[in-house]
Amino acid sequence: MRRLLWPLVILAALLAVNVLFTPGFFSIQVREGHLYGSLIDILRFGAPLILVALGMTLVIATGGIDLSVGSVVAISGALACLQISQDAGVFTAVVLALGLSVALGVWNGFLVANAGIQPIIATLILMVAGRGLAQLITDGQIITVNDPAFKLIGGGYLLTVPFGILLVLAVLAVTAFLTRRLALGMLIEAVGGNAEASRLAGIRARGIIVMVYAFAALCAGVAGLMISSNVSSADGNNAGLWIELDAILAVVIGGTSLAGGRFSLAGTVLGALIIQTLTTTIYSIGVPPETTLLFKALVVTVVCLLQSAAFREKVFKRRARTAGAQEVAA
């Protein structure tokens, strides 16, 4: 729990800044038959990032990394919209898109676990080629679809709550159950700690690795459906662009080490929420677009410094010591 203290403090601070600029920031109303408010926006637009980051957490816990999730987001959305535009039916479209996503994840896992290629290189292949594949599917165009059932996934509401948020809660619950109530989480951490040692201890390390990459791609696939459904169109060039970097950042802010081993699902969710809140903050307080990236970089730097135990030790210990010294002198 202590690991989550700093991310929580940062999230609270960001929200507090928003209230200063927008007094009604915390108000949630029911409008047009659904929940409406800035906090709902953060959850709704943050939902795809949370999903992608969840998958990324497990990959990173095995000591790997998946750069291809952004491309999988684009491919999944593109394939689903293409199918729907050809009257294939929403169910078929979703199944095909998610099926292809999982297949791409298995491919990543195969390259890492069986071919022994370093994860950053293995997934870089799909990161570059995947966006090309998405453009191939959409023919370089934006495919617009008008389907109320598809709209539900990322832009619709169930019992006044945005469906995307419910979807994330469901995936989170299943993941938490599988990794924290069953032995799977421990096996993943063991593989991340030392793949060879865990294999010798009787864990099927390769199988675990292929599984986490497939899971990451599945999460990315669902996120892709949400993103394209939210705007009723598939954009092979821009959907999920750079989301892999945001996801990695979310995982790191959440306190999971890139070296593999221990991981924190709650930390990742917090990390993703911090990133989305930061984006919303920029829009609401009106940071000029030219300085947006600088502003983001500054906040993220502060977040990372606060997360670093070594940095906290140096700064806060020294201050405590000087304060003590002054007392003695007085």
Binding site: E32, S38, F45, N230, V231, N238, T292
Partner: protein
Amino acid sequence: MLKRISALVLAGLTAAALTSCGSGGSGGASGADDGSITMGFSQVGAESGWRTANTKSVQEAAKESGITLKFSDAQQKQENQIKAIRSYIQQKVDVIAFSPVVESGWDTVLKEARDAKIPVILTDRAVDSKDTTLYKTFLGSDFVEEGRKAGKWLVESFNNSTDPVNIVELQGTTGSAPANDRKAGFAEVIGADPKFKVIASQTGDFTRAKGKEVMEAFLKSNPDIDVLYAHNDDMGLGAIEAIEGAGKVPGKDIKIITVDAVKDGMQALADGKINYIVECSPLLGPQLMDLAKKVVKGETVPARVVTEETTFTQEQAKTALPNRKY
């Protein structure tokens, strides 16, 4: 196994290099022999329906005017474009045309083209080079004028009221020429009357997803929005969804002005969800081929040629929509 694969890859690369040299040689020769024109064209990419229509227009116009076209797609990367231009120089094409991905960093490669005595035509987007002898002419839309047209419509449609008009702006990709210029032209026209106030302005990266996300935030932090000005149709389409989600009626509660006039945008205009669209036409192929013929012959051409384009109201959109190509 790995060795064999790398050998295969190497062989493939060599073959590709050889064939490209071969075709380049023959292209240069044909250009010199029979007086026909070969044009090397480097496109930005295929990021939108607009761009695809632009590509098709160039390809069709080249075919019609008997110009041999060597086409390459830079996939949004400047280094790809520089590579393409260098290869056109090596192939000794008669004229090079390209749409620069970004504004800066072109001096070196354009000097190489000038040294090889190959004229260069910029299409659609400009470069910020101070040395204007590096290219013959710039054919494309006047983005500042597009911004002005949007501003003029706004001023005219609100000239009966003295109430303050709160405007939010969705900018294009930060630092890109269309974003800078459309913002500047619009600000210039509405700046004359203090009742017009831009209360929020953020980038939506020219995409629907970002347009929607930013508009959601605008709607929460600014309760009174009268007008939305989006630098392209796609951001406007995303924003429409956000406005509808907030229980407001796009086109009525919030007036919407966009730029581009792609098919989806025109549909929304005809449906009354957008109020006014300033066209940014991609169909500059025929004009480009005319200019190419002139510069190859050595005739002087104006340094700046503006694409022929118009504006659309909701009524005009209904009549124009059935014939819209892109």
